[in-house]
């Protein structure tokens, strides 16, 4: 088990290097720093001097890979590749184009993200499993067929409409909670309620439909027939036999996103004005702040890889048939 985790961590290194190289190529080779300067400054103010000044200010005036003017190690370290990409590995994200320290931003903004994403995640899974179990109990009846249709219809509605609809109904028409905003000290639940509710409802269609399929797949297994032959009731079979077995595929699909909960949701956060990492990314995209985007890509990849490892570990925990080595 320990050897396995170590091995997975070792395997993560080439992946992170790959992510790093890819972002570097995207941001500095496909588009040169000059292009970036031009688009940041705006077409009107472009003069060679302004471009140079902008590049110097943001640290883009170095050569890409090799600095022939520096001696020794400096030839490698005084380059864009080293200062902008390699330093990410030390969690040194540098400063955004607007001069803010990204590391501080990230560490303060991840908590509001988590405050929305975690309840959405937990409540969402719980609701989906409950709904799916209920539908499975009525399998092969008219109710089941209509439920599937409703799931598909719910899936076919864009996420944007869930948010807009939720804000309009709950906050504007019924005036139950504030439309948007966030306050960590005074009654934070008031601000969290609507985003979590919207997130959960938006996920029911896809989630419950998927879990239903998993439950039905399990209910066709031989051991279910064995349990029936023992004289177990349908309810007991559902909860004692089908559910524990179906939890295995559910886990693998679900655990991988847990670390990414820190990243928050782009849409939810921007609509509800929650100062988390999701809205941070969105602002960065809108202001074309590539330093932040680079940093978030790197963080996102790390969290995803952690998620993959957690998935494997949770597998062994849920499925006695698996032993990692």
């Amino acid at each position: 088990m320990f050897a396995y985790i170590v091995r997975r961590l070792v395997y993560a290194i080439p992946i992170l290097i790959g992510v790093n190289l890819l972002t570097f190529i995207l941001f500095f080779v496909v588009n040169s720093p000059d292009d970036m300067a031009v688009s940041q400054l705006g077409q009107k103010y472009v003069t060679p001097e302004a471009v140079q000044a902008w590049k110097r200010k943001n640290g883009y005036d170095l050569p890409l890979f090799l600095n022939s003017q520096e001696q020794g190690a400096g030839a490698l370290t005084e380059t864009i590749f080293f200062t902008k990409s390699v330093k990410l590995f030390a969690f040194d994200f540098g400063r955004s184009e607007s001069g803010r320290d990204i590391t501080t931003d990230v560490s303060t903004r991840m908590w509001p993200s988590l405050a929305v994403a975690l309840p959405t995640f937990v409540v969402g899974i719980w609701v989906n499993i409950c709904v799916a179990l209920m539908v499975v109990m009525f399998h092969a009846t008219r109710l089941d067929r209509w439920a599937v249709f409703v799931f598909v219809a719910l899936m076919s509605i864009s996420y944007l409409f869930y948010i807009i609809g939720g804000q309009y109904l709950v906050a504007k028409t019924w005036k139950l909670v504030p439309i948007s905003g966030f306050n960590g000290e005074i009654q934070p639940w008031k601000f969290l309620l609507l985003p979590v509710l919207v997130g959960v409802i938006a996920g029911i269609g896809a989630g419950a439909r998927w879990y239903r399929t998993l439950f039905l797949e399990e209910s066709n297994q031989d051991y279910v027939r064995t349990a029936r032959a023992k004289g177990a009731s349908e309810i007991r079979i559902l909860f004692r036999h089908i559910l524990p077995n179906a939890l295995i595929p559910i886990l693998t699909g679900v655990v991988v996103v847990i670390p990414s909960l820190f990243m928050g949701g782009l849409l939810i956060e921007s609509f509800f004005g929650i100062p988390g990492l999701g809205s941070y990314m969105l602002d960065a995209i809108n202001s074309q702040d590539f330093a932040i985007v680079r940093a978030m890509v790197f963080i996102g990849s790390i969290l995803y890889i952690v998620g993959l490892i957690l998935t494997d570990i949770s597998y062994t925990w849920a499925d006695p048939r698996l032993r990692l080595d």
Binding site: T23, V148, V152, S158, Y168, T213, L267, V297
Partner: protein, 456 residues
Amino acid sequence: MKPLLLWSDLLIFLLVVVLTVFFLRLARDPQTREHWREVFSTRLGMVTMTLILVYVGIALLDSLHFRRALEPVAGSPEGEVFYSNKVTSVLDVMLGGMGERFERTYSAPFALDSFEKQDMKDDNGLTYRDFPPLEHAGRHLDHPGERWDDVLAKSAAALLWGALFSVLAIALQWAFLRRSPFPWHASWITQAAVICSAVWLVSMSRHYHVLGTDLGGADVAYQSIKGIRTGVLLGTLATLIMLPIAVSLGVMAGYFKGWVDDVVQYLYTTLSSIPGILLIAASVLLFQVYIDLHPDFFSIGLEKADARFLALCFILGVTSWSSLCRLIRAETLKISQLGYVQAAHAFGVSHHRILVRHILPNVTHIILITFVLDFSALVLAEAVLSYIGVGIDPNMASWGNMINGARSELSREPVVWWTLSGAFFFMFVLVLAANLFSDLVRDAFDPRSGAGRSAT
């Protein structure tokens, strides 16, 4: 009139040809035919397929572009013709100029007056503030009070015409298809509904804005219909770009194993570890920078928007192949263990031939299922990306842009709800039809689903 072929037009017609060939080839195989028969023997399959074809048809009509010749200006040399900078499509013509009736700003559905007050001068030259009457709505009415009677009368006439057209269309099909074992009547009812609403919409839009107008005064119904091409094209083109990458890499990884497998797995793990939306956003932004810096590449605005649209398809395709690749790799691993591949090895059949003859035909069901499943996902993604600002160019009609433009207006009093409703309705119908259809396709083609139903 001068025809204009945008790159995306070319690609979509190419795509239609490719897909037709693909499906015809598939249909030669009796098992595949059997599966399709299963899909279309349900009423739901017929209805959803009809709806999807209607959308695709609209998208294709909207992809036949041309530029109108301008009236010769006095003084210009004889024989030289100038063309309008505005690009028109065959669909625009069929909609009877629905897109050319602009108002100043918002107006509600079937409204006669604008939504916002405006300074106006009365006959005596005095300035006053009131809701100005719309330029293209209810002009034929003598009195505003006649509006609803007029709407009713015109609706009845339009529906009558619609029914007539429907009967003609269905009678023609009935003559050929009445002995077919498939539930064509379901398709016919859908067709009739579509034809009637189309006739109604076009004829009403001559006198009213059926779904109102948006901030810029454009007709919302027209905008929603124009969004169809964007949605359909994005859904198909992006998958088409992704397919060759995913299939070739997946098949090679699963078949050759060893270092090829390691490299492919490394590639897709790396790619899927990057948060998709960031990768897409970054790529689109970078491309936008490129477009901005090279404005001289594109002679008209639509070409620029088209380039960005194609780039978006390309980026979506290149960033989304990992899940299909993983599926195909797993299936290929399974197939290469099967007797017929082993037997082919024992006959000394070359790798290339085994891949083409034995592996590829047996993973096509996965490709097909992914193609239909991804379609609706991409249509939904377009709206989100456009909202974030990395989607379709704002100059191009798309549902995402409509939502983006309208969301802030919900806080107004009274609410501007019609822009959202238009986008919602047209998008929902397409995505729902595609989702339901993909369910049927998966049930028919996926050997895993439905296997548990057999007895003993």
